[in-house]
Symmetry: none
Subunit: 250 residues, 2 copies
């Protein structure tokens, strides 16, 4: 995965430095780098942003500040607006997932895109929404639909990240090889032998069902070679005392 | 959309009250309500949580506090663990999207599920991950993969929310009802006791790793109540001869 310069994340009149830092962290989590602030209430740089950014310096060190939305979006070819409230205007509406795919496609075409997010208090003004070609609307609990600023940025950035990550494979550490069937067979034979010796199956008519259910537990677990060895050790150890007793008797 | 009581969000040793409040907000944004805290550093209730929760009182007013992970998960039938770091253990790995679909399916079947999230400093301990049936791994920038606690919760809760919008069908392996976690705990306690009595762990320094790997096999297998009973019978039967021998000696 590579770092993405598009889309830009544009915070319009953000208030809290801590939220700006959290946005930077969420962006860098998703490999986005271009953070723009329109008229931040407490100015910029803001020391309150550093802690919550948690080391997202590739974003934090390159923040740009603009006096208004037109200047912040001047170089962009596509502008989206994120808003929870429905607006009385005719605009295409995208879910974050749809927008993620669209923005990824545009990025791969070399387009410069940006996404507007309103400040904590009142969100985007209608005139900012008008400037955008589409609205991104985040699905939510209808009785509690207002997201924290950094949370809203994260969801859109995450969908953009995923839209680029198709064909992603699991980390190598998880690609564990299960033991061959014959090793599991041998384990279950071992278990059955010891259970018979210990007279576990008192009622022979129930034996097939009980045995099948017991085997099923271990078949299902996708055991590795190491685990098969461990379980054989467990069985041998638990059963060993019977052998000693037999030896002592004879 | 309706409010969901499952999955529970379980924060293990969270540090900052502000983060707990942000988690509550993210949960309620996604219509989740069951927040559980394991041993929160600054106690509970914590006034620092109120502001960031931003009015998510249906979550905040019903937080429950537990001394440890076993008690926090005792009533749950499915436990997932969220972790960024790959672990040296054999566990299925889900993306948040896959987990969202799975958890939604389970919720619709009336199952009680929970998701473990580690504290801000060091995440989950291996022993907590072992207790879970699958790992949720959040895709991210490989050079900056550590999410803020509330951000990690949000992504998983958001995928759960979205999964409710689609008509998914349930995988066949969930047709069977798993035993509650406390029943599996009791089984593993039983096994450990007998292995100690049988002097299975000859080298005490290897004991924690051996035990963890052994437990992992049974956690992963999604045991039913019937299977737990069968395995306890197997252990008791295999170990019984030692008891008889002891009785015969005295």
């Amino acid at each position: 995965m590579s770092v993405s310069f598009s889309p830009a994340i544009i915070l319009v009149e953000p208030q809290l430095g801590a939220n700006i830092g959290s946005v930077a962290r969420a962006m860098w989590n998703c490999a986005l780098t271009d953070l723009r602030l329109v008229n931040p209430r407490d100015g910029w740089p803001n020391p309150c942003a550093v802690g919550p950014a948690s080391g997202a310096t590739p974003v934090l060190d390159h923040v740009r500040v603009y006096p208004d939305v037109p200047s912040a979006t001047a170089d962009l070819q596509h502008v989206f607006a994120t808003t929870a409230r429905p607006r009385d205007m005719v605009k295409p509406v995208r879910s974050p997932r749809q927008a993620g795919v669209e923005l990824r496609t545009l990025e791969q075409m070399g387009r410069r895109c940006g996404i507007l997010f309103g400040g904590e208090r009142s969100g985007l003004k209608n005139e900012d929404v008008v400037r955008s070609e589409a609205i991104i609307s985040i699905p939510s609990n209808p009785v509690f639909s207002s997201f924290n600023l950094a949370q809203a940025v994260l969801l859109v950035a995450y969908e953009f990240l995923l839209a680029g990550a198709e064909g992603e494979t699991l980390p190598a550490d998880y690609q564990v090889t299960p033991a061959p069937t014959e090793a599991v067979d041998a384990l279950l034979d071992h278990l059955d032998r010891e259970l018979d010796a210990a007279e576990y199956y008192r009622e022979q008519n129930l034996r097939p069902t009980m045995q099948r259910n017991l085997h099923n537990v271990f078949r299902r677990a996708q055991l590795t070679d190491q685990e098969v060895r461990s379980l054989r050790g467990v069985i041998a150890r638990l059963a060993e005392w019977r052998g000693r007793r037999r030896a002592a008797k004879s």
